[in-house]
Symmetry: C2
Subunit: 244 residues, 2 copies
């Protein structure tokens, strides 16, 4: 253990590689016994780098609010949660969290009526060019940003969904408000990618950060598509679970 875990001259600074590994180790529970990160000198030895380089990594993690350094004592772990999102036929953002967070919120960032692109039309079972409503939303757990989603809805059937979402702060409540009491998740596609500059800002991420991307289609109980969405989750804050 602890040999050549990081690589040089690859376009990714050593301190960033080390920060990513320590963040992973924290969220995987590697330091649960002490609640602290090992001393800088120990980490430097483990990663085969200078202590200064480790300090840069820890400074970045402190900036993210994950650790807090205390002179004379060590570097304490402040946060280590990773929210679990079950992906099932009844997937709901808020309910899925359950008791993992106290306060769940969905904020409406933007709303627009537009013509469906070929891809959106295909997913919603519309003809390209038909009107759809697009919602840009930000979801938070205990005031911490968790995901940025772009959702499309058939405009005719769900007129006013933006206002309903803003009021209820959830898709489920907005649907209910518009006369759709229940819906189901039909398909989900999962990929991963680097965060765009815009998503980095909204999700309070740093460059090099990873997104888990879920492209999802929901239907009503008759199987008619009601929503297509592309959700970008901060990968170090969540995991998906699929139960078969």
């Amino acid at each position: 253990m602890g040999l050549k875990q990081v690589q040089r001259q690859t376009g990714v600074a050593l301190w960033r590689q080390i920060a990513d590994r320590i963040r992973e180790a924290i969220s995987s529970g590697a330091y649960d016994e002490t609640g602290m990160v090992p001393p800088e000198t120990v980490l430097a030895l483990q990663f085969g780098v200078n202590r200064h380089t480790v300090r840069s990594a820890l400074a970045a993690l402190a900036q993210e609010g994950i650790v807090r350094a205390v002179q004379g004592r060590g570097t304490l772990i402040e946060r280590k949660e990773r929210l679990n999102f079950p992906i099932t036929r009844r997937t709901r953002f808020t309910a899925g969290i359950g008791d993992q967070a106290r306060e769940m919120r969905g904020l409406l960032l933007d709303e627009a009526k537009e013509e469906a692109s070929a891809e959106i039309a295909r997913w919603l079972g519309l003809k390209p060019g038909e009107q759809v409503i697009r919602l840009e939303t930000l979801r938070q757990a205990d005031k911490r940003p968790v995901s940025r989603a772009t959702s499309w809805f058939p405009a005719e059937r769900f007129a006013g969904i933006g206002e309903a979402y803003r009021a209820g702060e959830s898709i489920t409540k907005a649907f209910a408000e518009l006369g759709l009491p229940d819906y189901v998740r039909a398909t989900t596609e999962v990929t991963a990618a680097h965060a765009s500059a815009a998503d980095m800002a909204d999700l309070e991420l740093t460059p090099g950060a990873i997104l888990l991307i879920a492209k999802a289609m929901n239907t009503d109980l008759e199987g008619v598509p009601v929503q297509y969405s592309i959700s970008r989750f901060a990968a170090d804050r969540v995991q998906f679970t699929i139960e078969n």
Copy 2:
């Protein structure tokens, strides 16, 4: 579009950020019309950097075999596939690929008999310390590495599974060989993270590359756990699909 897509002084070199974005643009089909990447000067303008910096990014992509620069013509796209893996109750690596690739192979890198850790024992329904067999495998599609997996099996029930896997090049065939004709996927946990140095080497990735990680548990038809595995997929080569 095209403004401030990359950030400075973040521990990730601009040329690497740009290489990552172009790689994703290619695999998402953004340049399908021409089959080429835009000219270096155009990219430099789009990303707001010097042409030298774009050249560094394209050189890295050429090194990966994704693009090929031709003097006087431009930079041609050599490869852009993204394999789809359905995650269902009957998830199988080889069959899941279907017609997306011609040749599917599973290579056995290492085999070991060891005592189950607390986590492995929990997943396999064993007592910690009971014997398990661990297989390290590399899966390829058309000779291109797709995923690195670490799998654990109850040692008593599946003695000799390493040899069976080496011969059949698939878990399904190895199970059949050992008298288990059928099995089902019980749960799958999906996360994303940066690649370790070892996975980078096996999957022919570059630093900063992203892994889609699937922790999966398979059972026999009676619901008895037969396999727990942690598979790391090159995120820019695959996507997962969940059908509900």
